[in-house]
């Protein structure tokens, strides 16, 4: 299971915290100082010099304010001007990921490289096995001619000294849909036509060069206004903060949210409707039905495997159902989904019921900046707690479990199959499932391996978070 904690990611979080602090202190100039404060002239630099680091930090701060590198028309525009612009924004329009090009130049095209371990041996297995005649011996060592190399990797398999390694480009490697690639100048670009907004690349890049455009400033702005703001907490919130769910709810109220809803309640309703839909579909002769709660999967279907489209459930996701509940009871409320997911931003953009999407990281930054310690918060009373089944949506297998619960005391022929993580191989399998089936009739698909608890916006180790969730489910 992936873990998203490294120094690059910590820097990204620190920028978010500093931007949120500037918001609370109403010190506009503090925002301009972020790059300088984080990289003082006397301190260390992580790149060639502090000045380049500062430039990168400026773009990170822009992303934290909701702007991409693409939005820069004049390099002189200062961070406080972006901040002022962000304050004027009334709705979210652009959610595309942004690549901070100056942070990204370091990776060479993914390729095979012959390392120092090469003995320049007599056998020359690499040369013999290369189908393109791309290997020469220079100064007693094998060298790959990149012009001829076709990336087949046969030399790597052949070398008895393991002298050949593959040096990947992490963001390209992780993208399940080949949406990231290099342009002529060597910087990575994201093809928005292909991208399913899963966010994996943002966490895989060791330079954190790919950033999401944050909606944090927008939400902070709404919290100051008179309209009620409702937080909708994803089921995967368990284990993402110190303290328990009841304390997290209080912390959100202290931040200024007028009400906090558990999206797990929406998930309970999703499970009820999805079970009914599944029964109906199978009875009418469908081979199988897949889940629809993971928006990255839904995007993948739309953009890459349309042949499976007709098998995807029409039941709205837990977020959509919860947001619908909120709209019914308080039509003028601003709705904010808070979860681990970047793809939810796409779903929210298409829905009129969800106004903003925050990640746990962004919420964390807001709490730090507001000086709210969750463990110091008193426990709120949850009027209508969600059922265990709905709370279980946070992990892979959870949706299946909830559907099974629906049929617990009924005769049924539910045959569940799960896709735990969407990678290139899983996509191919799903594509084939459209014609050949997939060995089951209820198919759960989660883009993130492990489920939403391993989503790109989490703050905890997925293993420990899952353990906490299990403990909670026992007494839900």
């Amino acid at each position: 299971m992936k873990q998203y904690d490294n120094q690059a990611n910590r820097i990204r979080k620190e920028v978010l915290v500093r931007v949120a602090r500037a918001f609370f202190s109403e010190e506009l100039r503090a925002i301009d100082r972020i790059p300088i404060d984080m990289r003082p002239r006397s301190g260390e630099s992580s790149r060639c010099c502090v000045y380049k680091d500062r430039e990168v930090l400026k773009y990170r701060a822009m992303a934290a304010l909701g702007f991409g590198v693409e939005d820069e028309t004049d390099e002189l525009t200062s961070l406080h001007e972006y901040y002022e612009k962000a304050q004027q924004r009334t709705c979210v329009k652009d959610i595309g990921l942004t690549v901070i090009d100056i942070a990204c130049h370091a990776c060479q095209k993914s390729r095979y490289v012959i390392t120092d371990t090469c003995r320049g041996c007599l056998g020359r297995a690499c040369q013999t096995n290369c189908p393109k005649d791309a290997i020469e011996i220079v100064n007693g060592r094998a060298v790959i001619d990149s012009g001829k190399c076709v990336d087949c990797g046969l030399c790597m398999k052949a070398c008895p000294y393991n002298a050949v390694v593959r040096s990947p480009v992490p963001c390209e490697e992780i993208c399940p849909v080949n949406a990231v690639s290099k342009d002529e100048t060597g910087r990575e670009i994201i093809d928005q036509e292909k991208c399913i907004s899963c966010g994996q690349c943002t966490r895989a890049c060791p330079f954190a060069a790919i950033q999401e455009r944050s909606q944090m400033i927008d939400v902070l702005g709404r919290l100051k206004e008179d309209r009620p703001v409702v937080a909708m907490l994803a089921p995967s919130v368990i284990g993402q903060f110190p303290g328990n769910l009841e304390q997290i709810i209080t912390a959100l109220r202290r931040l200024g949210f007028d009400a906090v809803e558990e999206v797990a309640t929406g998930a309970d309703e999703t499970a009820r409707r999805e079970a009914a839909e599944w029964k109906e579909r199978i009875e009418s002769g469908d081979a199988f039905m897949t889940t629809s709660c993971c928006p990255a999967y839904v995007e993948a279907v739309r953009k890459h495997i349309p042949e499976i489209g007709k098998f995807v459930s029409h039941t709205p996701s837990p977020m959509a159902i919860s947001a619908g509940f909120v709209r019914e009871t308080s039509p003028d409320a601003v709705t904010v989904f808070i979860g681990p997911c970047m793809a939810k931003r796409v779903e929210a953009l298409q829905s009129s019921d969800v106004d903003y999407v925050l990640t746990f990281e962004e919420l964390g930054a807001m709490l730090i900046a507001a000086g709210i310690d969750v463990q110091e918060c008193e426990a709120a009373v949850i009027d209508e707690p969600a059922e265990a089944a709905g709370r279980g949506f946070a992990v892979s297998g959870g949706v299946t479990g909830a559907i099974q619960t629906q049929f617990a005391d009924q005769e049924n022929n539910l045959q569940p199959v799960g896709f735990d993580g969407l990678d290139k191989k899983a996509l191919l399998q799903l594509k084939m499932a459209a014609t050949r089936g997939c060995g089951g009739n209820f198919v759960e698909v989660m883009c993130c391996e492990g489920g939403c608890m391993s989503g790109p916006g989490v703050l905890s180790n997925p293993k420990t978070a899952a353990r906490q969730l299990n403990a909670l489910l026992k007494d839900s």
Binding site: Q3, Y4, D5, Q7, R10, K13, E14, V17, G239, Q240, F241, P242, A251, E361, G364, A365, L367, I368, I372, D373, V374, Q375, V458, L459, S460, N461, K463, T464
Partner: protein
């Protein structure tokens, strides 16, 4: 005379968000050589996060000494140093 090193990880909100959330499983991530010689505790806000001079969160203490920007790597290194007086890399050969 087995020595035990005492590691205390701050799980105040600041530290937790900045990375301590990923350190909750430190016990499982310790290298074999350290298992059994490290006692891990989780603390409420250690109170050091409000002073910028203390460094970057997450904070932890190893036998009472403050570690800033705590990570599995630097906590393991600190434990190794205390247990053997050597850096982690050389421990196996000591």
């Amino acid at each position: 005379m087995d020595k035990i090193v005492d590691v205390e990880i701050c799980t105040g909100t600041t530290c937790f968000v900045m990375g301590a959330g990923h350190l909750m499983s430190l016990a499982e991530e310790l290298p074999e050589r350290l298992k059994g010689s490290v006692s891990i505790r989780f603390a409420r806000c250690l109170g050091v996060c409000s002073v910028p001079d203390n460094g970057r969160p997450p904070f932890a203490t190893v036998n009472g000494a403050l570690i800033e920007n705590a990570s599995v790597e630097n906590l393991v290194a600190a434990c190794d140093l205390l247990l053997s007086g050597e850096k982690g890399m050389n421990y196996e050969t000591v």
